[in-house]
């Protein structure tokens, strides 16, 4: 059994990322999409922290803090949008919002 290395963490984050992407692409519910985005964020965070651990440098962690802050902001705005959207067109279904249709 090999020792715990950076690549483990990176692999994990890769998988987590994959799951997040899958979620974003598959679910119809906007709220769900947002949650999956959070997963992707987490994947990124894991990367950062892991690298800062194995390539000893605190910057990674600092950035994680920022990422989290940004994530929080994103969620706040995202959910705000969701509510606005729901109020306008009684739906949270992504498909039904296709104003961008060409």
């Amino acid at each position: 059994m090999a020792t715990l290395g950076l690549n483990h963490y990176l692999l994990l984050s890769a998988l987590l990322f994959g799951i997040g992407v899958a979620g974003v692409l598959m679910r119809r519910n906007v709220i769900m999409v947002l949650m999956c985005l959070e997963l992707i964020f987490n994947a990124a965070n894991i990367n950062l922290v892991a690298v800062s651990r194995f390539r000893p440098d605190m910057t990674g962690q600092v950035f994680t803090i920022f990422t989290i802050a940004v994530a929080a902001a994103e969620v706040a705005i995202g959910l705000g949008l969701v509510i606005a959207m729901f109020r306008n067109s009684q739906t949270v279904n992504v498909d039904e919002i296709h104003l961008l249709k060409g």
Binding site: V21, V24, L25, V33, V94, D95, I97, H98, L99, L100, K101, G102
Partner: protein
């Protein structure tokens, strides 16, 4: 007194400032304004007289005071010719300097003295104008004029003279245009100033030539250098003097620039008396006399001066013979008398020119003011055909006018006789004289006598041609107007005795002559050769040789005397040789004889003129008879030889046409070009815009359309569903990563 002479031009400025600034708002009193203005003139006269006396006290050689008040213009280096000897570089310096010498002194006395009388007269003449409107304006301008005129005669350099020169021109503009509601007045004013400006252009060029020739504009230095370094006939001197002559013709109303003076009669009569008879118009004569050294060096110019003078005198006199407007007659008479003065200068008798200038100032001012008082009494009537028999109503005016007439007509014993006779004698026998000049002069004397007598008769004698209303109101004017007339009348009688011709120097006259002789008085300025027959002329000239090394005024006389002396050796070159020098003594008797004959002839001609006039107008004959008798000539004279029309046709209107043409050119061609360029730019812009719209946009839209039509598949991709896009993004990521992996 003499050390304060520089105050003379400043004193009238007091009147200008006080009247000009406060009279309209605060003073509002005719008495104050008038008295102040005349007071200034009187003070100036007093100072002038004091200085004059003091000057007379000095020996003839150093009668020359100079003062530089401050540095007016001084610039960086200028490159000029150094008195024909080489080149030099010196700054262009013009100090604000005044000088007081015999000539200036005489002019100052004339200007301030006659000026004072006219101011006094004007108080009465202008009394109809409200003190806070016209009245104060009038006296402000008059004082301003006086101060400029005094600067003109007192200045010690050509530049200083130019200040006064232009200044008096301005004042004459303002005063001619005094009744500015009248269009004619405005036109006359403008005409006067522009005509003067033409002359001034010549004056300027002459001044520049002098500066670059001598490196200075100061009289003494210029004249000394000229007398020392240039010989008679020097081309540059001729050029300079010709240019100065143009200026003089402008200011002194000689051919070809005389046309403005008759129109100038639009101004109030005192103005005509002061500016257009006594002082300003004589500035040209003064200038010629002042720079006599230069003129003497240029025979060509001298001839020009003499000829111009003679012709002007003749032409103006002939016009004056037929005019009916009382002031116009006097105006043309002035022109003709100025012609006399030019004639005198032209033949080299500068002193005589000044002599006539002085006497003319007396009797012409007198005549104008008398005419003015007639007009005043007749409510501004100018037409002599509407007068007559005024001697009944206006005794003083009549008597004084009579004196003036006799004086100007050259009746023996009065001022005019002496000066005119001197001129005629010099025209014949002067340094530059010629018999035909004398003939013309004598003819003019006759004409003068004729038209003056005609005027006298038509105005004061015969039966009245006034309408009842006017006649009932005619009255002699108040003393404030008549007193000056009397004073001037006296002057017109005695004024002549300061210059007694050689042949009359007998008994008491000879004694008087030894006392006062204007010619001798002016010799420091005009030099020894100034008068042909002065038997002591040469003596004085020699007496002045010693100072000829110094660079002050008398030296000029000395240099001139040297010219004379040089002449003695080689009679061929120098003008003065004919009459002065050794040759002069033995011919003295013949001269006296000749002079007697000429004098008798001219006097006879004058009396003949008087008689003729009496024949024609004195007998109550039909007044238009002369017109019938010689029609063509008469109408030519009556229409002033159509000179005004000619000038308008040739110069004025052509200039206007040119201006109009250039304006059109400006709009059409130059501006047209500019706008054309702009238009072209705009067109090309439009064109390229079209090109954009049609071709380029066309292509673009074409492509777009084809894309649109062929883009159903892409359109299908454009679902507007976020997740489709996300999927595409993911695909992109996939592609990238796989590229990274497998490439």
């Amino acid at each position: 007194m003499l050390e304060y002479f520089w105050l003379i031009p400043l004193v009238p400025l007091v009147g200008v400032v006080v009247n000009g600034l406060f009279a309209s708002r605060y003073i509002r009193s005719q008495l104050f304004t008038g008295v102040l203005a005349s007071g200034c003139m009187l003070v100036a006269f007093a100072i002038g007289l004091g200085s004059f006396v003091q000057l007379a006290g000095m020996p003839a050689a150093d009668r020359h005071v100079e003062i530089e008040l401050y540095d007016w213009i001084s610039t960086s280096l200028v490159h000029m010719h150094d008195n024909a000897t080489g080149v030099s570089a010196a700054p262009f310096n013009v100090p604000f300097g005044l000088q007081f010498d015999p000539l200036s002194a005489l002019m100052v006395l004339v200007v301030t003295g006659v000026g004072f009388l006219i101011h006094v007269y004007a108080i009465g003449y202008m009394k109809h104008d409200p003190p806070d409107k016209g009245f104060y304006r009038f006296f402000t301008y008059m004082n301003l004029f006086a101060s400029f005129m005094l600067i003109l005669v007192l200045g010690n350099s050509f530049a200083m003279m130019f200040i006064g020169w232009e200044g008096v021109g301005l004042c004459s503009f303002l005063l001619i245009g005094y009744y500015y509601q009248k269009k004619s007045a405005g036109d006359a004013a403008k005409k006067a100033f522009v005509a003067n400006r033409v002359g001034d252009a010549g004056f300027l060029i002459g001044m520049f030539t002098i500066f670059f020739t001598f490196g200075t504009l100061d009289y003494d230095q210029v004249f000394a250098a000229a007398a020392a370094n240039y010989q008679v006939g020097a081309g540059v001197i001729t050029f300079a003097t010709m240019m100065l002559l143009i200026g003089a013709t402008g200011k002194s109303a000689q051919i070809p620039l005389y046309v403005w003076l008759p129109d100038a009669m639009e101004g109030p009569t005192p103005v005509s008396a002061l500016i257009h008879a006594a002082t300003m118009v004589t500035a040209g004569v003064y200038m010629v006399v002042r720079s006599n050294v230069l003129f003497s060096l240029s025979p060509a110019t001298m001839t020009a001066v003499a000829v111009i003078g003679a012709l002007t005198a003749l032409m103006a006199a002939s016009i004056a013979m037929v005019q009916n407007d009382i002031k116009r007659v006097l105006a043309y008479s002035t022109v003709s008398q100025l012609g006399y003065m030019f004639l005198a200068c032209g033949v080299g008798a500068y002193a005589v020119g000044v002599f006539h200038l002085m006497t003319h100032a007396f009797f012409k001012a007198l005549l104008f003011m008398a005419a003015g008082s007639v007009m005043h009494a007749l409510h501004g009537e100018l037409d002599m055909w509407k007068m007559g028999n005024l001697r009944k109503y206006m005794p003083i005016t009549h008597k004084t006018f009579l004196v003036g007439t006799l004086a100007i007509a050259g009746v023996p014993g009065l001022a005019g006789f002496f000066s005119k006779d001197e001129i005629l004698w010099n025209a014949w026998a002067g340094p530059n004289g010629a018999p035909w000049l004398w003939a013309v002069g004598t003819l003019v004397a006759g004409m003068t006598a004729f038209y003056m007598t005609r005027m006298l008769i038509m105005v004061f004698y015969g039966d009245s041609r006034m309408d009842e209303h006017t006649e009932s109101h005619v009255h002699e004017n108040p003393h404030v107007m008549t007193a000056p007339l009397v004073v001037l009348a006296i002057l017109s009688i005695v004024g002549g005795y300061v210059g007694i011709p050689a042949n009359l120097q007998i008994g008491p006259l000879a004694a008087l002559h030894e006392r006062v002789d204007i010619v001798r008085w002016l010799e420091p300025v005009t030099g020894g050769h100034s008068e042909a027959t002065e038997d002591h002329g040469e003596a004085d000239a020699h007496a002045m040789l010693p100072q000829s090394d110094t660079l002050v005024g008398p030296a000029v006389g000395g240099e001139a005397a040297q010219v004379v002396a040089r002449a003695g050796d080689e009679p061929a070159i120098v003008l003065a040789a004919q009459e002065t020098g050794g040759a002069e003594q033995e011919h003295a008797e013949d001269h006296t004889a000749l002079e007697w004959t000429l004098m008798l002839i001219s006097t006879t001609v004058a009396l003949a003129g008087i008689g003729l006039a009496y024949q024609i107008y004195g007998r109550g004959k039909p007044v238009d008879e002369p017109a019938k008798r010689f029609g063509g000539l008469y109408s030519a004279m009556w229409n002033k030889y159509w000179v005004d029309e000619l000038y308008n046709a040739v110069f004025v209107n052509r200039a206007k046409d040119l201006g109009r043409a250039l304006w059109v050119f400006d709009d059409a061609v130059l501006d047209g070009t500019v706008n054309g360029v702009a238009e072209a730019t705009k067109q090309s812009a439009n064109a390229s815009n079209e090109f954009d719209g049609r071709v380029i946009d066309g292509t673009v839209n074409g492509v777009a359309n084809s894309v649109w039509s062929s883009s159903w598949v892409f359109r299908a991709l454009q679902t507007g569903m976020v997740q489709n896009y996300a999927l595409v993004i993911a695909i992109g990521a996939f592609v990238l990563v796989s590229a990274y992996l497998f490439l």
